[in-house]
C-alpha cells in the first residue's frame, strides 16, 4: 500500500464524476444538458472556465452530436468525454455503435434515468441496459467514490491495447447524482502518472492517410472485425481484474472486482443487484444475518463484459438466487436474469428468480428486500414485481 496525497471532500455524485474527468485530464468534452446529468456538464464547464481543467468544452445541440463529436476528436488522438441520461442515451444509440466499431476508448458517464412516456426524470436503468449490445463496457457505481474512481479506471481499461473499447460509467439518478457523500479526491500528479496520455495506434495521420470506417463487403474482414471486438470484450475480464488491483494499490482505493460478494461465504440465499440500490440490499442482508438467516448479496460492478464466471463461483451451494432488475424488457425476463441464467445453465443447479424493482424512481425499501428474500426462501410463488400496485 502506497502513501499518496489525497483529500477527503463532501460532494455529489455528479461533482465526483466531474472531478474524475479532471483527474483524467480529458482534452475534449461535448455535452448536451438533460436532467439529472446536467450538473456534470455545468461542473466541467466551470472547471474549464476557472482554468482548473485544460480542455475544450463544447456545448453541442444534441446527444447524437455529442457522441459523434467526441468520436471524431478522439480519433485525432486526444482523450474525449461526454455524459448523458435517459432519452439522451437512446438518441445517441447509433453513435454508440459507431464509437465502439471505431475501437475508440471513450468514457461516458450515464446518470441512469427512466424513459418516457410518461415523462419521468427519476432513477431506473433501462436507458443503459438498452445499450447492452453496442460494444461498450458497462460499469454500475454504488457510491460517489466509485463514480469518481471509475472514470480514471474506465480510461485505463478502455485504452489498454488489448481492449480498445469505449466505457460507460453509470450512477443512479439523484440517489447518487444529487446526493452528497464524503469522497477521497485522488492526487492529480498520481492520477497523471497512472493514466498517462492517450496513445492510439490508429489516429488521424496526415503523413499516412487512411479511411476510418471504409466499406467492407461480405467477403471482406467485416465479420473478423466484429469477432475481434467480441473477443476483446471477453478478454477484458482479465485486464479489468488486473487494473482494479493496480488502481487500488496506486490510490489506496477499495474498488471491488467485476462483482462484489457481500456476506456470500456461507449464504444459502442471495440477491444480485447493480448500482446504488445495492446499499439498501446490503443493509437488509446485515439485518437478516443478525436474525440468523444465511443470506448474501452479489453486486454487479461490471455488467459488460458480463461476469458470468464470478457469479458461477459465488452461487455454488446456494438454495436460491434472486436477480433484482431495475430495468424492464418486454415479452421476456430481464436482461440480467437472462445473462445470469445462461452463465449458470448446465453448470450449477440453483433456482433463479427475477424481481423487477424501482422503475421510474419508485422507492426500494428494506421491507422490499425482506420480501424478496422471503419469496426466495419459500420458493413457492410467482412474485416478479416488487413494491407495485397496492401500496
Amino acid at each position: 500500500m502506497k502513501s499518496v496525497q489525497s483529500s477527503r471532500r463532501i460532494m455529489t455524485g455528479n461533482e465526483a464524476v466531474a472531478t474524475g474527468v479532471k483527474l483524467s485530464r480529458v482534452k475534449v468534452i461535448a455535452a448536451y444538458p438533460i436532467t439529472p446529468q446536467t450538473t456534470i456538464a455545468e461542473k466541467i464547464a466551470e472547471m474549464v472556465a476557472n482554468g482548473e481543467l485544460d480542455s475544450k468544452f463544447i456545448e453541442v445541440e444534441s446527444e447524437h452530436s455529442a457522441m459523434s463529436m467526441i468520436t471524431a476528436s478522439e480519433i485525432t488522438g486526444v482523450r474525449s468525454y461526454t455524459a448523458s441520461s435517459s432519452h439522451g442515451i437512446l438518441y445517441m444509440h447509433e453513435a454508440l455503435h459507431w464509437a465502439a466499431g471505431m475501437r475508440l476508448p471513450l468514457v461516458m458517464s450515464v446518470v441512469n434515468r427512466a424513459l418516457g412516456p410518461p415523462w419521468n426524470i427519476w432513477g431506473e436503468q433501462t436507458d443503459t441496459f438498452n445499450q447492452r449490445d453496442t460494444g461498450w463496457l458497462q460499469m454500475y457505481c454504488e457510491s460517489n467514490q466509485e463514480a469518481l474512481d471509475s472514470i480514471m479506471l474506465g480510461y485505463k481499461i478502455g485504452e489498454n491495447k488489448k481492449v480498445l473499447l469505449p466505457v460507460m460509467n453509470m450512477l443512479d439518478a439523484f440517489t447518487l447524482s444529487h446526493t452528497s457523500e464524503p469522497v477521497e479526491v485522488r492526487d492529480l500528479k498520481t492520477a497523471a502518472d497512472y493514466l498517462g496520455d492517450l496513445d492510439l495506434d490508429f489516429k488521424i495521420d496526415f503523413k499516412n492517410p487512411i479511411g476510418y470506417g471504409s466499406l467492407i463487403s461480405p467477403d471482406g474482414p467485416y465479420m473478423e472485425m466484429k469477432k475481434d471486438m467480441r473477443d476483446s470484450m471477453y478478454n477484458a475480464v482479465g485486464i479489468i481484474k488486473n487494473e482494479i488491483s493496480n488502481f487500488n494499490d496506486q490510490f489506496d482505493a477499495e474498488l471491488p472486482g467485476l462483482t462484489e460478494n457481500f456476506m456470500m461465504e456461507d449464504a444459502d440465499y442471495a440477491l444480485i443487484t447493480a448500482g446504488a440500490i445495492s446499499s439498501t440490499a446490503k443493509y437488509t442482508v446485515r439485518k437478516l444475518r443478525k436474525r440468523g438467516q444465511k443470506v448474501g448479496l452479489i453486486r454487479l460492478y461490471f455488467y459488460r463484459p458480463f461476469p458470468g464466471e464470478e457469479i458461477l463461483k459465488a452461487v455454488k451451494g446456494l438454495k436460491g438466487l434472486g436477480v433484482v432488475e431495475r430495468n424492464l424488457s418486454y415479452g421476456q425476463r430481464g436482461p440480467t436474469f437472462e445473462d445470469v441464467v445462461s452463465s449458470l445453465y448446465g453448470r450449477v443447479d440453483v433456482p433463479v428468480r427475477n424481481y423487477v424493482v424501482g422503475l421510474g424512481g419508485r422507492d426500494i425499501r428494506v421491507t422490499d428486500y425482506e420480501l424478496m428474500f422471503e419469496n426466495l426462501i419459500e420458493g413457492n410463488n410467482d412474485m416478479e414485481w416488487v413494491n407495485v400496485g397496492v401500496k
Binding site: 461535448a30 475544450k56 447524437h64 459523434s68 471524431a72 476528436s73 478522439e74 488521424i204 496526415f206 466499406l215
Partner: protein
C-alpha cells in the same frame, strides 16, 4: 484566362464513381484547393462508397466516415481534437450530399456553423438521394422525377420547390457562403481558396450533376453544369463578411434547354415548364435585390 487550378491531385485513379459523376469532380477540385493538410469527414452518401473498399482509399488525405446525421458534429470534433494538439493549421472539411446536408444532417450542420468552428462544409448537391437510388430530397427541384416521386398517370413528380441550404447559411450569417459549379472550375477553386483563408465556419454548395439520377448522357456533365448556371436555374453567388455578390453569366440559355437535356424532366408539359421559368426568374430578381441591399 490563365489556368488557376492546382496541378496536384488528391483523388487517386481507381475510385468507384459512375462515369460522368459530378460529385467526383467536385471532390477533386475541392481537395486541389484544400491541399494535403486536410482531414475529410464523409457521411453516408455516394462519397462513402466512391473512395473504395477497405483497406483502400482513393483519397490522399485522412478520411473519417460518419453516420448520416452527424457530419457537422464530426468536423467539429476533428477540429477541436486537432486544435487540442496545436494543429490549428490543418484544414477540416466536410463533404456531404444534399440528403446529408439539407435533410438528416441539417441540425448538426447548423449547430457546427453556429458554434463557429474553423471548418469548411461542402454540400455536393446532386439533388436527390443518389446512393440509395434516386429518392427525393428537400434539395430536389420542382418538376423532377425520382423513384419516390414517380411519374405515372397521376403525374406525381416533385411538386415542392428546392430548399436552398446556402440561403439558410446566409440567414444564419455564416462568415463565408458560396454556391459553385464543377462547370466553372476556376470560380470553384477561387471560392475554395477564399474559404481556406477565412478562420471560422464556411459553407459551399456545389451543384454536382448525376448522369444516372438525372438521366443524361455521361459525356454531358459539364454541359449540364454550365446550362444550370447560364439558365439561372442554379445561380452562383457569394456571401462574405455580410456582402452578397451574384455572378451574372455572360452567356445565357433558356431553361427549356437545360431541362430538355435531362430525362428526369421529360414528362413536364409547357405549362409546368413555364411555372419553372417564372420561379427561376422570381428567385433571380430576389437575389439581385439582395445584392443591391
Amino acid at each position: 484566362m490563365p489556368l488557376t487550378i492546382p496541378k496536384e491531385e488528391y483523388v487517386n485513379q481507381g475510385h468507384t464513381a459512375c462515369a460522368g459523376c459530378g460529385a467526383a469532380l467536385a471532390m477533386r477540385y475541392v481537395l486541389k484547393g484544400m491541399g494535403p493538410k486536410t482531414a475529410v469527414a464523409i457521411p453516408a452518401s455516394c462519397w462513402a462508397i466512391i473512395p473504395g473498399e477497405y483497406p483502400y482509399t482513393a483519397l490522399k488525405v485522412p478520411l473519417l466516415y460518419t453516420t448520416f446525421a452527424s457530419t457537422g458534429a464530426a468536423i467539429s470534433g476533428l477540429r477541436e481534437g486537432l486544435n487540442a494538439q496545436g494543429k490549428e493549421d490543418y484544414n477540416v472539411l466536410a463533404f456531404a450530399g444534399d440528403g446529408g446536408t439539407a435533410d438528416i444532417g441539417l441540425q448538426a450542420l447548423s449547430a457546427a456553423m453556429e458554434r463557429g468552428h474553423d471548418v469548411l462544409f461542402v454540400m455536393y448537391d446532386n439533388e436527390a438521394y443518389m446512393n440509395t437510388g434516386i429518392q427525393r430530397s428537400s434539395s430536389t427541384p420542382y418538376g423532377a422525377w425520382t423513384t419516390t416521386t414517380p411519374v405515372g398517370l397521376k403525374r406525381n413528380f416533385k411538386k415542392e420547390k428546392k430548399k436552398y441550404v446556402s440561403d439558410l447559411m446566409i440567414a444564419q450569417n455564416v462568415p463565408y457562403v458560396a454556391t459553385a459549379s464543377i462547370g466553372y472550375p476556376e470560380d470553384l477553386e477561387r471560392k475554395v481558396a477564399i474559404a481556406k483563408s477565412i478562420k471560422g465556419p464556411k459553407f459551399i454548395q456545389i451543384l454536382s450533376p448525376c448522369p444516372p439520377g438525372w438521366y443524361y448522357n455521361t459525356a454531358d456533365t459539364i454541359k449540364v453544369s454550365r446550362l444550370a448556371v447560364e439558365s439561372k436555374v442554379f445561380p452562383l453567388y457569394e456571401f462574405k463578411s455580410g456582402k452578397f455578390t451574384l455572378f451574372k453569366p455572360s452567356k445565357t440559355t433558356s431553361i427549356a434547354d437545360y431541362l430538355s437535356l435531362q430525362g428526369r424532366f421529360k414528362h413536364l408539359n409547357d405549362e409546368e415548364i413555364k411555372s419553372i421559368e417564372e420561379a427561376v426568374e422570381e428567385r433571380w430578381k430576389l437575389l439581385l435585390k439582395k445584392e443591391q441591399n
